[in-house]
Amino acid sequence: MSVYIQSIKQISFQKPLCEQWLEQAVFVNANYNEAKDPDFKPYFSPIEARRMGKLIKRAIATSSEATKEAGLKNVDSIVVGSGFGCLENTEKFLLAMIEQGEQNLQPTPFIQSTYNTIASQIAIYMKNHCYNSTYSQQGLSFESALFDTFLQIQLHKINNSLVGAHEEMPPTFFKWFQQLGTCKDEPIDVAILKQGKSRGSIFGNCAVSMVISNQNNDKTICKIQSMKLFHQPDDKDFYKNLNAILTEANLQLEDISAVILSYNGDCENDHFCNHYANTFFSSLPILWYKHLFGESLSASSFGVYVGAKCLQYQKIPQHLFYKNEQTINHPKNILVHNHFKNQDHSLILLSC
């Protein structure tokens, strides 16, 4: 059973709902970047918009555009991945509860704080009664959601699915994450970020929505050959999974045009990326994307987005290369690897 990506839409600190970053990427000197929002007027009435948090607006806008671009009126399934859920409302309710000593709290931030608010708001917006679920598995939340859709298509339960990955970073949580060391203390230039010499990454918001289908038609962006999710691999396990994903697609490692890795400028993370790049992909061009979209628990959805768009537009812009830069005229197969603290891993093979 083949699985295809029919459309992908993003909102990030690149220009929203388009692929301008392919030609004209925004390079920031920052440790946090708010997303550049599109005009939300086409999607909501002013009353609706007032009630919704930004994350929900972005999730609905990207979902709505992705569904439209896939040529669908509705979908057979809605699955969202989110590592932190609706963190802005979580922060609001948490701080109010502590400051006000559990008195006089407003229900709205609580109602809009749960992880599944996102998928359910999308369902309400699309009047969709189909399968609906939400995954929250740290840095592999997006892959967990995508895998669910993979299974459902393989089981012939659905023909298509809207898969989303959504994160936000409100101010108090941002300060706490700086204290933890997962975010840089100071703004940082991309060239220095790439050296990966200090702790912490640069944070960004994430809104990525894609339509996955079992149909290969004129809307198809690329094929997802296969995906592997695995846990605490040693090099032998990693090789086994890499080998399996290539074998299933009937490909050799040299057929891979480029490998997208999850470099984020945090020495603790990049150390593992270097290990996998050097051990398994030493002869292949290595790409990264978090310098363009920022780090978040769902950032790997941008990895798949970037890979799919490179295949669709048949080019790999120079600013995506992390190392082993080569001229690639016709990218055909792109492998996306992601890991969270070297514990949970994913490999996703995209082909055009």
């Binding site: 609580f110 608010t117 995954y135 740290q138 967990s144 300060k175």
Partner: protein, 396 residues
């Protein structure tokens, strides 16, 4: 297609630690909901707390006393350990195992307790690493000692654990794994107790699901896991088979973020799908362990959906939430374990505190029933956001 079997279970809730304690407490027809002992809240509301503090929980499983942890993690470890023991899973098994856990609260208990000091105390700030759902699942998974092949977390509010069951079953069907350990863990937190309180859906007294005078729900906490296993694997291992998972359904009410539709569309679709998948007719269902929270809105919506599914041939129905409290993300697996205990013991637990039939038009089981032959039982789990799921367990 080969069957999905249940070959192990673990449970901890206000009713106690383990299946035996749980079943005894059900037999006693006594609610475990009461005043709070461990949760540091100023709200005076009845809750269903697991009767051990965190230090006692650690001692029960030999958890390192100095390791940063959350109550969700500790409860999860206890239930996981019992499920692994019953299912006889060694740490060096050659079977492919997925661990799929559900939570929404995650480590919020420790964040709300310590966040005022996060910026001044780097050590305390590390609790932030344990806040999100997945961090709790990964920490619970460590209790196994062996290596799971796949770990993930579902967070669909009060139907989370039922959706974990669904994912596990789908993974076994597609032969990604031989065994899926599925369920959820959720501790009480001030955050969600206050949240539910702002929604004015908490009963100040003990909850009365489906009663005409019901005033809301009581929150509870706990964890439960089921070992789902392919028929082939269970036979190879020659392990005791508790029952089979014969069907399941997931649908979305798509009505309102915190309210259920008056016609119960989401619950209806979820139950209908579960029946279809199991190739059963509605009259085959002998007992429904209802979601039955005790809120005006849920019970009316679920009641309407039950009537649409079962017509005038209502099976035995009860909500066991008056025993345990509403254990939110863990409710789906806690009540699935209870349903399976019922199936195996020919037992139907009472819907405690029910007195007056409402306009929904049916009465749940008022007193425990013994020696009731049960072939198929259904467990309903519905959540905020209209995330509705239903699972059917059958004798094997």
């Amino acid at each position: 297609m080969s069957e999905i079997l249940v070959t192990g279970m673990g449970i901890v809730s206000a009713l106690g630690n383990g299946k035996t304690a749980t079943f005894r407490a059900l037999e006693a027809e006594k609610s475990a909901i009461g005043n709070h002992l461990f949760l540091k809240t100023s709200l005076q509301l009845p809750i269903g707390e697991v009767p051990y503090n965190n230090e006692e929980l650690k001692q029960l499983i030999g958890y390192p006393s100095d390791k940063l942890t959350t109550r969700t993690i500790l409860l999860g470890c206890i239930a996981l350990q019992e499920a692994l023991e019953e299912g006889k899973i060694p740490t060096n098994t050659s079977k492919r195992i997925a661990f799929i856990s559900a939570t929404t609260v995650g480590g919020m208990d420790k964040v709300e307790e310590n966040c005022n000091n996060f910026l001044s105390d780097k050590q305390l700030c590390k609790y932030l690493n344990l806040q999100n759902c997945g961090a709790n699942t990964s920490a619970i998974a460590e209790q196994y000692g062996g290596k799971f092949d796949y770990i993930t977390t579902i967070s669909t509010a009060c139907s989370s654990a039922a959706n974990a069951i669904i994912l596990g079953a789908n993974m076994i069907k597609m032969d990604y794994v031989d065994i899926a350990i599925v369920g959820g863990s959720e501790c009480l937190s001030k955050f969600h107790l206050n949240g539910f309180n702002t929604l004015m859906i908490l009963d100040k007294n003990l909850c009365r699901p489906f009663d005409a005078n019901r005033k809301g729900l009581n929150l509870g906490e706990g964890a439960a896991y089921l070992l789902l296993e392919s028929e082939k694997s269970a036979k190879e291992r020659n392990v005791n088979i508790l029952c089979k998972l014969s069907g399941y359904g997931n649908a979305c009410d798509a009505f309102h973020q915190t309210a259920s539709s008056p016609d119960g569309e989401g619950p209806f679709l979820a139950m209908q799908e579960a029946l279809k998948e199991s190739n059963l007719k509605s009259e085959d269902i002998d007992y429904v362990n209802a979601h039955g929270t005790g809120t005006s809105n849920n019970d009316e919506s679920e009641g309407m959906a039950l009537k649409r599914i079962f017509g005038n041939k209502m099976p035995l129905i009860s909500s066991t939430k008056p025993f345990t409290g509403h254990c939110t993300s863990a409710a789906g697996s806690i009540e699935s374990v209870i349903s399976i205990l019922c199936l195996r013991n020919k037992f139907v637990p009472a819907n405690l505190h029910f007195k007056t039939e409402s306009n929904i038009g049916f009465s749940p089981v008022i007193h425990n029933i013994y020696n009731q032959p049960l072939q198929h039982v259904m467990n309903n789990s519905f959540g905020f956001g209209g995330n509705d799921s239903s699972c059917i367990f059958s004798k094997y």
